[in-house]
């Protein structure tokens, strides 16, 4: 009888466990994978694991019953879409793809025993764990900005009730009011997101409340697609939208919701509507067991997305630093597919396939004005690098038809990626 490497390892493991008497010999299965997080990364990974190997036992852990996407939540904010159109469920994942979906929160990990503890008191054993928990907001990083303050000054950076709260505030505001958006330092979820949001709110104001003003206060001096955004703003929203960089007192350091004020180092603003997008870090479960090295974001091996800290734990999506890939839904989706293929290979003791990593992010500057950034990435010496010439943004001098086409592509992209993930 010839044993595969995996069988030998399993046999050795069983023997040592029997000798140690720690627990009974496990029964050999095709492989148990637990995926934590039901967003673009987690759902894609669970689905593609089962597509690649239907004998895998895959469990998805996600506290919410439905997922509201951040992509196109800026369109919801200004009434171009309703929330239902960016809300997706887990039924297809369960029924068509055979993934067990557990609605609970993962609270602790044991990387040695390979177990996840859930807040419902149960534990899940795994051979491979995938963490795709996304981000959490850093309450208190801006003085006075905590969960309670976000009920007055919404962040709307985790889509759902916060999106609708900010939408109601914009709708209730009188013509002539001041809207303030505060954008954080890098890194954070969706680098072009604050600028798309500013654009679409400016579009809403121009259309409905033209005497109003939008102040985009930024902790940074530069941002993604900057020339494209600023050129478009000058043309579409002159005098309405003003961007204040960090070096010109753009960084918000304090808010006072009872006084209704937003403070930078030198200025105080009293807006009618304040949208505070605070600094972020990897969600709590990704920072347990030292997975983030205490740095707030997690590092991974580029070919497998396996943690550099603990074996058997993979991390994908917004919780990791995968630069030059941005923290986007597309990045999470493509990382999830690479991670799934790597896990299937690792469980079989086979060679991990060459990763295919891509990204495309569309931003709407107006409903019929779209711009994009795209890139193709390769892995060499355990580093992700952009293939020369592939990474770049829409041309600055493109005609209106191109902007309209990219806006239409943005809509089509959303339909197609959510079909890829949720159908």
């Amino acid at each position: 009888m010839v044993l595969t490497r995996r069988q030998v390892l399993s046999l050795v493991g069983s023997l040592s466990l029997t000798v140690a008497g720690a627990r009974p010999t496990w029964t050999q299965t095709a492989g148990r994978v637990v995926v934590v997080g039901g967003g673009f990364g987690g759902v894609t990974c669970a689905k593609y694991l089962r597509r690649a190997d239907a004998t895998l036992d895959v469990t998805l852990v996600e506290s919410h019953r439905q997922f509201v996407t951040c992509p196109f939540s800026n369109a919801v904010l200004v009434g171009l879409r309703d929330l239902a159109s960016v809300t997706h469920g887990y039924e297809t994942l369960r029924q068509r793809h055979g993934v067990r979906v557990v609605h609970a929160t993962a609270t602790a990990l044991d990387p040695t025993a390979r177990r996840v503890t859930l807040d419902n008191g149960s534990t899940l054993a795994y051979d491979r764990l995938v963490l795709a928990p996304g981000i959490e907001l850093q309450w208190g990083a801006i003085e006075g900005y905590d969960a309670a303050a976000s009920e007055a000054f919404p962040h709307a950076w985790l889509a759902g009730p916060q999106t609708l709260l900010l939408r109601r505030q914009l709708e209730a505001m009188e013509d002539g009011g001041l809207v303030v958006i505060s954008a954080p330092d890098n890194p954070y979820r969706c680098p072009p997101g604050p600028y798309e949001r500013a654009s679409l709110i400016a579009h809403y104001l121009k259309t409905n409340k033209p005497r109003s003003k939008l102040l985009l206060l930024d902790a940074k001096d530069t941002f993604t697609k900057q020339e494209l955004f600023r050129t478009a703003w000058q043309r579409l929203y002159p005098g309405l939208l003003e961007w204040v960089p960090g070096s010109q007192s753009g960084r918000v350091v304090r808010v006072n919701t009872s006084a209704g004020t937003v403070h930078t180092a030198f200025d105080e603003h009293k807006p009618a509507v304040a949208n505070i997008i605070p600094p972020q870090r990897a969600a709590a479960i990704a920072r347990t067991a030292g997975l983030d090295d205490g740095k707030g974001w997690c590092r991974v091996q580029a070919r497998t997305f396996e943690s550099t800290v603990h074996a058997g734990i993979h991390l994908i999506g917004d919780a990791i630093i995968a630069s030059p890939m941005p923290k986007s839904a597309f990045s999470a989706n493509t990382q999830a597919k690479v991670c799934a293929a790597a896990i299937v290979a690792l469980l079989r003791g086979a060679q991990v396939p060459e990763p295919v990593l891509m990204n495309t992010c569309y931003s709407l500057v107006a409903p019929d004005y779209g711009i994009s950034i795209a890139g193709v990435y390769r892995v060499a010496d355990d580093k992700i690098t952009a293939v020369e010439g592939s990474e770049g943004v829409s041309p600055l001098d493109a005609p209106d038809e191109t902007r309209a086409l990219e806006a239409a592509y943005a809509q089509s992209w959303y339909t197609n990626i959510t079909a890829d993930v949720f159908s």
Partner: protein
Amino acid sequence: MKAVLLLSLTLALCLPGTGVADVLAARGVGLAHACAACHGPDGQSQGAIPSLDALSAADTIVALQAFRAATRKGTVMLRIAKGLDDADITAVATYFATLRQR
């Protein structure tokens, strides 16, 4: 160039089970999965983005080479195609052509 690619594609298709064909097929699947994020599951797109599942291998090869050389009008594909080498283009074209035959 096109003839060489088509020849290698034909050879790859004719030699199933060989190492080269397996590597090409695996690469094609990996690339097609990435394409799905914009072009939809199995290249079936809804809306303005073109579908890929009805294209012949030759059509896909010609289109990707033209995007890469910037001799064809486009938007993000002018950038994405620069990230693909000849083997990638053959692999992904072969994959989508098999969907068409289904």
